[in-house]
């Protein structure tokens, strides 16, 4: 997209030089993969504008996105952090249940629909964020709301 990805990389480099002082600091997200997967659609719901803005900036920066889109990137990080903080504050129990289920099921969302329904309803009540899957056709039930999950270990009614 905005820069050429390295091909056939055989090594990695860890550069421990911190960012220079004139660049404003932002705390990195400390949430790991399973909770991030669980919260992804809520982050997408609240932060869509920031995320789209960042991607647009990267495309338009024409290869210099790492330098020129730092401001947009900080907004993306702060917005995601705000969503995770709210979920941690208001829906921690359902959140933990869902990501622990994901962690035990190879991070497959369709194995954990019951926990997901609890989390979705809690987040919608407390935070007003709604899970929508982008690109779902108008005339079908979104896959996370279907009672039967075709590929789940138990494919019958989930809740």
């Amino acid at each position: 997209m905005s820069r050429r990805e390295p091909q056939f990389n055989q090594q990695i480099l860890v550069d421990t030089t911190p960012m220079p002082d004139h660049i404003p600091k932002v705390d990195e997200i400390g949430t790991t993969s399973a909770p991030l997967t669980s919260a992804a659609y809520f982050i997408g719901d609240r932060c869509k504008a920031f995320n789209d803005d960042y991607m647009k900036c990267k495309v338009e920066a024409n290869g210099r996105g790492e330098l020129e889109c730092l401001k947009e990137g900080r907004k993306v990080t702060r917005c995601a952090a705000s969503v995770l903080k709210d979920i941690n504050t208001h829906c921690l129990q359902q959140f933990n249940a869902h990501w622990e289920c994901l962690e035990n099921n190879n991070h497959r969302l369709w194995e954990c629909r019951k926990a997901e329904m609890n989390l979705n309803s809690c987040v919608f009540e407390k935070l007003g964020l709604k899970k929508t899957i982008p690109g779902t056709p108008e005339n079908v039930v979104p896959v996370h709301l279907r009672p039967k999950q075709q590929y789940a270990q138990y494919s019958g009614p989930q809740y």
Partner: protein, 93 residues
Amino acid sequence: MGVPFEALIPYGIIIGMFGVTGIGMGAVKYFSNDGKQARWNRDLWDRFGLTILQQMMERDYRLTGTKRGQSTNVVAPKGFEVSNPWKLEKRIY
């Protein structure tokens, strides 16, 4: 002409060793996954490895210190922001 029992001892040992292998492999899998179900069919985005850049499980390792550890902390521990690996490649032209 019965078969003397000594003739069957090697077979007993062989079959017993299958069991030892199975228990040993199971134990290795259990402890390397912190008692959780193993991840499988992962792609480069998910995978764990310290030589080539691999993404999410390696990031989990840097955040929590264990391969399968998870955390819901909003703020990363100090030093995480400078431990991010860059991909290197040989020059091809």
